[in-house]
């Protein structure tokens, strides 16, 4: 009797743990980058230059990596959902690094000043050479889940 009970109890415990794991995994959100170590530290200008020179080599090096990026804030865009995109790069150039802020860090993004130097951490999602209809709109490297790094 007690042996049978032990078996049933273990089955229940295992089933509960599996269910809990599945539930957690299903609802898992992206990890906050504040406390994760960056894979690469680089300036916005150098990152854009590398992608413009050889995008397949740069993709191999930077895609899906955590990048700690330093550069000049050209523009801070806020959309109607309340999300911020921090556009970093040389004001005179059409090319930029577009950094979508982590939704949990909106208040940090909101106080960013244009034309100031900033360091942030984000995951690189790729590079777009915006030559649309033959018009050169400048190229963009894109980062998501960005958090501001206070130094």
């Amino acid at each position: 009797m007690s042996k049978k009970r032990l078996i049933w109890t273990s089955i229940l415990v295992v089933a509960a743990l599996v269910a809990l794991y599945l539930y957690k995994e299903y609802n898992r959100t992206n990890t906050d980058l504040t406390n994760l170590k960056a894979d690469i530290e680089i300036s916005a200008g150098d990152l854009i230059k590398e992608f413009e020179a050889d995008d397949s080599a740069a993709n191999k090096k930077y895609l899906d990596k955590i990048i700690e990026l330093t550069g000049n804030v050209k523009n801070l865009e806020k959309d109607d959902a309340g999300d911020y995109t921090i556009v970093i790069g040389d004001t005179l150039s059409m090319s930029s690094v577009r950094c979508l802020s982590d939704t949990n860090h909106r208040s940090d993004a909101a106080i960013i000043k244009e034309n100031s130097t900033i360091t942030l951490r984000g995951v690189c999602t790729g590079f777009k050479k915006n030559e649309l209809l033959g018009e050169n709109l400048g190229s963009d490297v894109e980062l998501t889940r960005c958090v501001v790094i206070k130094k």
Partner: protein
């Protein structure tokens, strides 16, 4: 000296005229939505590049697939790895034309219905597409919006049997871009 100034102004003016009538953005929004009885999934891309030529009605959109944000990380991983295969096919693109462009007055405030025809590329597959949208002109600013459905099998996107109940074959795509003049 006067001649040089005049010549320079002519050159600058003609350079300006070259791109006149073209509008663009790099912060456009494209979202998609999948609805089944089991669950709803939506994702948004906020760095959509878009250009519109008001003279010819030519339009082009480009997005990076990895820049779509999801609420749940697991879905984002499945989307990039299993469905869209964004390492192999990093970009999505639409290139087409507004077929009723002569009916749209880009200098007069108003809301104009637009008919669009072109080629949509997702997951490395290019298909002809026709849809409708809206062009809004308000004090010199132009915005474009549209909403249409795509069928996953059309773009060779396969959903495994276990996920059939969670992901619809019909995906609704919405486009929302505020454009500014190309200088």
């Amino acid at each position: 000296m006067k001649k040089i100034v005049a010549l320079t102004s002519i050159i600058i003016l003609s350079l300006g005229a070259y791109s006149q009538g073209r509008y663009f953005t790099k912060s456009g929004k494209i979202a998609f939505f999948s609805k089944t009885s089991m669950e709803n999934i939506d994702a948004t891309n906020k760095s959509t590049a878009c250009i519109l030529d008001s003279k010819t009605g030519d339009v082009q959109f480009a997005v990076l697939m990895k820049s779509f944000s999801f609420k749940r990380a697991l879905m984002q991983e499945h989307f990039n790895k299993d469905f869209i295969e964004s390492d192999k096919f990093p970009k999505g693109e639409f290139k087409g034309q507004i077929t009723n462009n002569s009916e749209i007055k880009y200098t007069v405030d108003g809301t104009y219905p637009a008919k669009v025809k072109g080629k949509l590329t997702i997951h490395g597959v290019t298909k002809d597409m026709e849809t409708t949208g809206t062009i809004t002109v308000k004090s010199g600013k132009i915005s474009v919006s549209s909403s249409f459905n795509v069928l996953l099998p059309d773009y060779n996107i396969k959903v495994p049997a276990v996920q059939r109940s969670q992901i619809s074959d019909t995906i609704k795509i919405t486009v929302d871009c505020s454009l500014e003049p190309v200088k």
